[in-house]
């Protein structure tokens, strides 16, 4: 049934019936193409959501301070909440089970100079653990260490773009830069996947910043890293206890919406992932529908093809074609066309997806892709169902008496 001669006969038939070939090929290719693209877009959506979080650790709380809006325990409302070094120590002492690290963050906007170059940058005064929270990647030199905090060293870790702006192609390590009037030695250069803004930052020891600002112990923001093992439920519980702990310590009304605010990255991530998953399921349904439509399309074409060929099949039977060879002729032709055009559609789809890359980022689709197994399975499913759809009319044609088929006009 699969001899070379059979294939030759099929190739000739395909070549000489171009419209028919084109119709069924086009339907299948289009079906697979749309499937691949839709499915790829679904993955692109997920990518976009994951990208929002990819550059920072997700086992982190950011604790912000603000003004109270309710009076509490003798304190008036509209009181500015302050954080200081003792808050860090208290949090560490009270939550050893959940806690992995804490780091303060004091952000300032400073004019930074090196020789003739001068520019304004955000400096963040932090502790060494900050590297985990931001997922800072060191390119040269080192990040801050414990001794820098203890000794209040005037060392700076600068972003890749800060180095590019101030030093051009020259190396910055060991050079001195002027940050807001104080001289700092550059000991490290970092990169960050969070985009250009996150690479125009300078890190310095928080104790040094406090020393410069009249030896205060105030801090702007507290970042708390927790152990990933505690899981989502653990993180939510930890957030609640941390919240009430700080409120109690700072005399903030538990019902006050302001005063302090905790950004729970894990919770945001989870919500976004759920949203993305729902979107993907919807897209998956639409894609599945496309495959079904493709199967229906190819079935209709097969019915049409067999109808159109009834007389020819009658002639072939009169000349000695067996039912098996009649079915074979129809099926092999259809499977051959669906296979070729299915894979063409699949490849075009994959090519389109990979050429898009970040071009549709405005529509929340980043690097759309489909894994090859998924695309291949969908294509094969369409081929198999196309064959089944073709088998039914083919068998009917094979059973029909030659004299009846011949009478067909």
């Amino acid at each position: 049934m699969f001899s070379r001669d059979n294939w030759k006969e099929i190739f000739e038939t395909i070549q000489k019936n171009k419209l028919r070939t084109f119709l069924s090929g086009f339907t299948v290719a289009l079906g697979i193409l749309i499937f691949v693209i839709l499915f790829g877009f679904g993955n692109g959506l997920i990518n976009t959501f994951n990208d929002f979080f990819a550059d920072d650790a997700t086992n982190v709380f950011y604790v912000f301070r603000g003004r109270t809006t309710m009076p509490y325990k003798g304190y008036k409302s509209n009181r500015q909440i302050e954080f200081d070094n003792s808050d860090l120590a208290d949090i560490e002492k009270n939550f050893p089970l959940f806690l992995e690290y804490t780091t303060p963050r004091i952000s300032r906007q400073d004019t930074v100079k090196y020789k003739e170059e001068s520019n304004s940058y955000t400096t963040q005064a932090v502790s060494p653990s900050h590297q985990y929270a931001e997922k800072t990647i060191m390119m040269k030199g080192r990040f801050l260490n414990k001794n820098d905090i203890k000794d209040k060293t005037k060392y700076a870790i600068i972003g890749r773009l800060v180095e590019e702006d101030l030093f051009g192609a020259k190396t910055s390590i060991g050079k001195y830069i002027d940050i807001g009037g104080s001289s700092f030695k550059v000991v490290g250069v970092f990169q960050d996947d969070g985009g250009d803004n996150e690479e125009r930052i300078i890190y310095i020891p928080y104790t040094t910043r406090q020393l410069i600002e009249k030896n205060t112990d105030e801090i702007d923001q507290i970042i708390v890293g927790f152990k990933p093992e505690i899981g989502y439920a653990g993180a939510m519980a930890f957030e609640r206890s941390l919240n009430s702990f700080i409120r109690e310590k700072k005399y903030i009304n538990p019902k006050d919406q302001n005063g302090i605010f905790i950004r729970n990255v894990a919770d945001q991530l989870k919500q976004n992932q759920q949203f993305a998953r729902v979107l993907q399921i919807i897209v998956g349904f639409v894609a599945f529908g496309t495959i079904i439509a493709g199967i229906i399309g190819i079935s209709n074409i097969m019915v049409f093809v067999v109808k159109e060929r009834t007389k020819e099949l009658g002639i072939r039977k009169a000349l000695g074609a067996t039912p098996k060879s009649v079915i074979g002729t129809i099926l092999l032709e259809s499977v051959f066309i669906t296979t070729i055009s299915g894979f063409i559609g699949m490849l075009i789809g994959i090519a389109v997806l990979s050429s898009l890359g970040e071009k549709l980022k405005d529509f929340f689709i980043t690097n759309p892709y489909i894994d090859l197994t998924m695309a291949t399975v969908a294509t094969i499913v369409l081929i198999i169902f196309g064959a089944i759809a073709g088998y039914v009319p083919a068998r009917r044609a094979a059973k029909i008496k030659p004299i009846v088929a011949l009478r067909d006009d």
């Binding site: 020819e312 000349l319 011949l406």
Partner: protein, 233 residues
Amino acid sequence: MIEIKDLHKSYKMGSNSLHVLKGINFSVEEGELVAIMGSSGSGKSTLLNILGMLDEANSGEYTLDGVPIKDLNETKAAKYRNKFLGFVFQSFNLINYKNAMENVALPLYYQKMGRKERQEKALKYLGQVGLTEWATHLPNELSGGQKQRVAIARAMAAEPKVLLADEPTGALDSKTSYEVMDLIQKINDQGNTILVVTHEEDIAHMCKRIVHLKDGIIVKDEKVKQVRASEYV
């Protein structure tokens, strides 16, 4: 070669049935050239289609070259059609997207003959019907007579035991009809058994025997003196 006994055939048309062949008895020896005549609707085509295994009788016996033809499955029937029988139709029934040579080679494909051999043989038979130069032409580029000659070459290529022709000249003018009959006579001269259904007296007299059908039975079966078609060409 062919033997039929008490052959009956009726067509079901809704609730009533039309009795077309009402007990046909007849036999054909090897090498005969038989014309089947009769008025329109007398059952000539029905008889020929049953002989050609394109259709089945309701009852009666049919033996082809010593093989009883009865209750065959489609695959078996296809083999017998391929090996024993060649058809020529009034409307030619060539496959329109295949050229003359490919049409002639088609029954050989179903004999599982190799491609090369098939083409050689097809060309040989096209040569015998005088169409070597038209081998690569599609049917719609051929005249009616040429088409019928391709159809005859196709029927002969499989080297069947019996050639069945249903009004082979029905769609042709008289000059072309005689050319086709000349060809059929020559094939018969080589010893092939041929049955020709026709309306036309002159065509019938180019055969060696005439069977008259009327209302589903044979009313007359006579040997005749063959008129050579070449006299008219």
